[in-house]
């Protein structure tokens, strides 16, 4: 079941599987290691990291996670947020 409730403080894992060999990752590079806030759980979906290699794919929880935009991209107004879909296995409690 879902590991994170709405409002939970999370950190995106600072992991770079693409540097270790063939990989298909849906977590953008610019969010690795950054802190965000869970907004909502969107459901559970077959893990695209496995589907991309035609491997059996477990269903994983997917969340909308909000990030403070100015500190991520050094642009935007205070209070601007990025809302990004991130799978549970990329998140850890912060």
């Amino acid at each position: 079941m879902a590991a994170f409730a709405p409002g939970a403080a999370v950190r995106v894992k600072d992991d770079w599987p693409e540097s270790r060999g063939p990989a298909h990752i849906r977590t953008p590079h610019y969010l690795r290691g950054l802190r965000g806030r869970v907004v909502r759980r969107l459901g559970a979906f077959a893990n695209p990291e496995d589907l991309a290699f035609a491997r059996p794919a477990e269903r994983r929880s997917l969340y909308h996670v909000a990030f403070d935009q100015p500190s991520v991209w050094q642009e935007g107004r205070p209070g601007d947020e990025l809302l990004v879909e991130i799978f549970e296995h990329w998140l850890e409690p912060a």
Binding site: E18, H24, P28, H29, Y30, R32, A52, A54
Partner: protein, 102 residues
């Protein structure tokens, strides 16, 4: 940015102003080629031969220089071709023969 070092070349989010030309947001017509590629992808999906995730993986595997040179649907056909060859759905010889007949 240090964190860009390990970034895969297709992972362009957040680097737009440094790397990309302005995006043309005007509507544009799809070519016959574009439509054929799109239709073929749907057939491959319906027949269970290839998922959209495999399509994306194949697009991401296109070497960087080519990736930036190819059009959107040219990337698709490159990915579809590589995936079908890898899975043995078509052989190099069959592909070459089909291209020869055109």
């Amino acid at each position: 940015m240090d964190r860009d070092i390990a970034r895969a070349h297709h992972d362009l989010g957040g680097v737009t102003k440094f790397m990309c030309a302005p995006i043309d947001t005007e509507p544009h017509a799809l070519s016959a080629f574009d439509k054929q590629v799109d239709a073929l992808r749907q057939v491959l999906s319906l027949k269970g031969l290839m998922t959209v995730d495999e399509l994306r993986r194949g697009i991401e595997e296109i070497p960087e220089a080519e990736y930036h040179r190819l059009t959107y649907y040219q990337r698709w056909i490159r990915s579809m071709t590589a995936t079908l060859l890898r899975k043995g759905v078509v052989t190099e010889a069959e592909l070459a023969a089909a291209l020869e007949r055109r």
